[in-house]
């Protein structure tokens, strides 16, 4: 069972990674809608999947949350901002789609148009 004693080890690993990364100069910023509507629609799974994807591949990406994004029927929604502040909005996300977005958008810079709000 994990205890606080283990946290020291995790801390050291995390610190090495932080030192390699340029803080404030992330490649992308991922914003997950976590209002009541988002949570009820499955945003937890989506946020979790992004965090695990970013952690697993050590991506230079920051994952954050926001409240209701205003289109509750399209939740779970995710905005991805690039360095220039350009926004891509993905809608009706799930863990499977997140895995694809991590691979295509966050790792290779290719927007997955079929999941974006533009395709509605």
């Amino acid at each position: 069972m994990k205890s606080l004693a283990d946290l020291q080890k995790i801390r050291e690993q995390a610190q090495k990674r932080v030192n390699m990364r340029e803080v404030g100069n992330e490649d992308y910023r991922v914003v997950v809608g976590m209002g009541t509507c988002g949570i009820a629609a499955g945003a937890r799974v989506v946020l979790n999947a992004f965090m695990e994807g970013v952690n697993h591949d050590h991506l230079n990406v920051i994952v954050t949350q926001t409240g209701c994004m205003g289109s509750c029927t399209l939740e779970p929604m995710v905005d991805i901002y690039d360095k220039e502040g350009r926004k891509t909005t993905y809608i009706k996300m799930d863990a499977e789609k997140v895995a694809q977005v991590v691979e295509s958008h966050l790792k290779n810079g290719r927007t997955l148009e079929m999941y974006t709000v533009n395709q509605r």
């Binding site: 946290l7 690993q13 937890r44 949350q65």
Partner: protein
């Protein structure tokens, strides 16, 4: 609808974050003998006046501007009523808000606990400057305080994905 209690914790915790809380305490006490689950959330946010306390019970009220309905508190109140429990909302402007519900553990409609570790992880991820306490009691007692975690972490941010994912597992393993 929220499928489990952890989703309510996450949802109601977001209210406290929006109310500029600096400290959020979440108690989850399960008493098999009394057949009772108690869930309490205490924050030191901006609080609500009496009028507001009445209005948040109305599903067609919200402080947000992106939509006109707010379902978080009506959802949990309905759940408490459905599960032979109780609902209590206390708040004072400038002091904070306390929300406490009880549920009959064996009631058909009482939802499962869900992923409590994940809900806590997501609240910390939403705002890492807030100090959280999770007080879980069922047979034994498990208390997680972010102040203690941050002391160990030193200059490493609690919001690092690897730290957050570890915290989730740490909480879930200890409350089993």
């Amino acid at each position: 609808m929220m499928q489990d209690l952890a989703m309510h914790i996450l949802d109601l915790g977001q209210n406290s974050i929006r109310a500029n809380a600096k400290n959020i305490e979440i108690c989850l006490w399960i008493d098999d003998e009394k057949d009772c689950i108690t869930f309490r959330l205490v924050d030191d946010g901006i609080g609500m006046d009496e009028d507001m306390q009445k209005r948040v019970l109305d599903p067609f009220f919200s402080t947000r501007t992106t939509r006109k309905i707010g379902l978080g508190i009506p959802f949990i109140k309905e759940l408490a009523e459905l599960c032979n429990g109780s609902f209590l909302l206390q708040s004072e402007v400038g002091k904070g808000t306390t929300l406490e519900i009880t549920l009959q553990k064996s009631c058909w409609d009482t939802p499962p606990l869900g992923d409590v570790g994940e809900a806590m992880m997501m609240l910390i991820q939403a705002d890492g400057t807030i100090e959280y306490v999770l007080d879980y009691r069922h047979h034994g007692e498990f208390i997680m305080k972010t102040t203690e975690i941050k002391e160990i972490l030193g200059d490493v941010n609690i919001q690092e994905p690897s730290i957050l994912l570890w915290l989730k597992e740490y909480i879930n393993e200890n409350i089993k």
